[in-house]
């Protein structure tokens, strides 16, 4: 067993960390306050290759694999969760769907400009009546000659209002249900009938655009069917395996950041004539935070490695998502406790990070759904 990071990935991490320290952190509060990520920051990240870390060079990517993507996601999450979500929705599920199931032509045409950051991707699955029950989607796609006519409404779509390329899941045969009756489509945002209704006003990740999309008689060429006709649900599930893993990596980065902040604050903050770090109550919190981070890091990197080896990792990805999101939430909670009053104030990043972390227990499949996925897998295939 060799747990060391390659020299390439170590340098990639250093680069992403420097970028986060120099460019993201100074803008993180403004991103949260303004509800937007500056175009200049997106351009810088595109130049550095952040939008295509996990995709092969032949499609405009970096070729650093899922582990490389997780490391970059971890580092940017130290600065701004809104940027983590921008990159996650774009690369981890949006563009990833095209990489996983696209034809060579679709990869060249759509994945390449997504990898370079020239275009932004979104992944449109959730609907008003289909959240955790993704099979209950009502958006329809009806074949008409060489086109499909799509009608429906999608909600809570990350990157929705800024995306150029959207993966839309629609019912093509209601009788067949989720497996066989749902098809994925590559949709360009400039198609007639495509409409961004609004961006949501949220508790956290406020710089990420979470949008409601409407499709009215939107005509999509038949060549834009992604993957096998009727197999859209499988595409969605495969992409979400990656998304959940990347989400875990984001939680890991935030957790590491607040542990560093907490340790520093505990040493500097003096009460009753001594550092609060001298108190056992503080030491135990730091110790528990660090122990959880060790476990988080271990499962994130191991699962990313499994993914890069071409192994199945659906169960592990659900575990990563559930464990890391809950632990990050607890760790940030403890970090605020260690910081006391200042941790609660808006002029300190913990307040934002606490709000940002809450969504991780909900999106990309709630943690309750993840536990169902894990349990079903255990009951079907056995435990360990």
């Amino acid at each position: 067993m060799d747990f060391s990071l390659s020299e390439e990935l170590t340098m990639l991490r250093d680069m992403a960390r420097k970028f986060t320290d120099q460019e993201i952190k100074p803008q993180a509060d403004a991103i949260d306050r303004d509800g937007d990520i500056p175009e200049s920051l997106i351009k810088q990240m595109a130049e550095l290759g952040f939008f295509g870390i996990c995709f092969p060079e032949e499609y405009g990517g970096v070729g650093a694999g899922e582990l490389g993507y997780c490391i970059v996601s971890e580092e940017v999450s130290r600065g701004s969760a809104s940027i983590t979500v921008l990159l996650g929705a774009h690369a981890s599920i949006g563009a990833m769907s095209i990489y996983l199931d696209g034809t060579e032509e679709q990869r060249k045409k759509y994945l390449t400009p997504l990898s370079t950051g020239e275009n932004i991707a979104a992944f449109a699955l959730t609907e008003p009546n289909a959240g955790s029950d993704a099979a209950a989607i009502e958006t329809t796609a009806v074949k008409d000659g060489n086109e499909f006519v799509i009608n429906g409404r999608k909600i809570y779509i990350s990157n929705g209002s800024i995306a150029d390329t959207i993966i839309v899941f629609a019912v093509t045969d209601k009788a067949l249900g989720a497996h066989g009756g749902v098809t994925a489509f590559i949709v360009e945002a400039n198609l007639p009938g495509y409409k961004v209704v609004r961006d949501e006003d949220k508790m956290g990740i406020r710089g990420s655009h979470t949008s409601e999309l409407l499709f009215e008689e939107m005509r999509v060429p038949a060549e834009n069917v992604l993957g096998r006709y009727g197999a859209g649900f499988l595409t969605a599930m495969k992409a979400l395996d990656r998304g959940r893993l990347g989400l875990g990596a984001g939680c890991l980065g935030a957790a590491k950041e607040v542990l560093d902040m907490s340790a520093q604050h505990a040493k500097e903050r003096k009460q009753f004539g001594k550092s609060i770090a001298d108190n056992q109550a503080i030491q135990w919190m730091l110790s528990d935070m660090c122990s959880d981070i060790y476990a988080m890091e271990s499962i994130v990197y191991r699962t990313a490695w499994m993914c890069d080896q071409g192994m199945k990792f659906s169960r592990q990805s659900a575990i990563v998502k559930t464990f890391c999101s809950e632990k990050a939430d607890e760790i940030i909670h403890k970090a605020i406790q260690i910081h006391g009053g200042i941790g609660y104030m808006k002029d300190f990043p913990l307040e934002r990070m606490y709000r940002d972390s809450r969504i991780n227990l909900i999106f990309e499949g709630t943690n309750e759904i993840q536990r169902m996925i894990i349990a079903r897998d255990i009951l079907k295939k056995g435990g360990y």
């Binding site: 020299e7 390439e8 340098m11 680069m15 130049e47 550095l48 990517g61």
Partner: protein
């Protein structure tokens, strides 16, 4: 135009351990690029982008202990040369300048040599000027701005001093000369697949006695930590 940039590894100050009892500094982890040399690389890259150039990075370094030549590839260098031999640990600026001089003569095509003005650790600032003297090149130190017109370099040095040099020439740069850019991710991945040319003293036609303690002019008699 052929540009040569000299880069040096230095200890990562975040990863050193100081033993006051023993009066010593211990290095842990890999060595990083001298901050002034990062600026020198960026000045070279700016010239490359504006005028077109083949950029070679040369370092006297142990590649087991540092990735700075990989980093040089990642930011856009076309060729990297590592010079290392067993007894280099105690080289002073005099020896390093001689070694670099032989290496540059071996490359035989330097129009412009760019160095950091000094190192983050030694602060002597001697290697650049000594090398220029060895090579018989005009040079300017502590450059904060450099423009190229044909074969003429128009320079602004620290404290507003203006200079012009005809190439081939050597300059040493201060941090104001350029803002180092981060390497992009794809170039990082590619950097580790590229070949680094490796030369020993013998490859440069030098003897073991030309380097290390035997070749150096500076003798370190003792080291101690300044009380704070």
């Amino acid at each position: 135009m052929n540009i040569i940039v000299l880069i040096k590894p230095v200890p990562d100050l975040d990863k050193i351990k100081v033993s006051r009892g023993q009066g010593r500094v211990f290095e842990t982890g890999k060595q990083i690029m001298n901050s002034y040399d990062r600026v020198a690389l960026q000045v070279a890259m700016d010239f490359k982008q504006k005028h077109g150039a083949h950029v070679t990075a040369i370092s006297i370094c142990d590649m087991e202990r540092t990735d700075i030549l990989r980093e040089a590839y990642a930011v856009g260098c076309d060729q990297c040369v590592c010079i290392w031999d067993g007894n280099f640990e105690f080289n002073d600026a005099f020896v390093n300048a001689r070694i670099l001089s032989e290496a540059i003569k071996k490359i035989d095509s330097a129009d412009l040599i760019i160095c950091g003005a000094r190192s983050d650790t030694g602060f002597s600032g001697q290697t650049g000027p000594r090398l220029a003297e060895d090579l018989g090149m005009p040079h300017a130190t502590r450059v904060i701005s450099a423009e190229l017109n044909g074969a003429i370099l128009s320079l602004e040095c620290l404290k507003g001093l203006k200079r012009t040099l005809s190439m081939p020439a050597l300059i040493t740069v201060d941090p104001e000369a350029a803002q180092p850019k981060l390497p992009n991710a794809l170039n990082i991945m590619k950097a580790f697949k590229k070949e680094v040319t490796r030369w020993s003293l013998a490859d440069l036609g030098m003897e073991p006695s030309d380097a290390g303690k035997d070749g150096s002019k500076v003798t370190v008699r003792s080291q101690f930590l300044v009380e704070q």
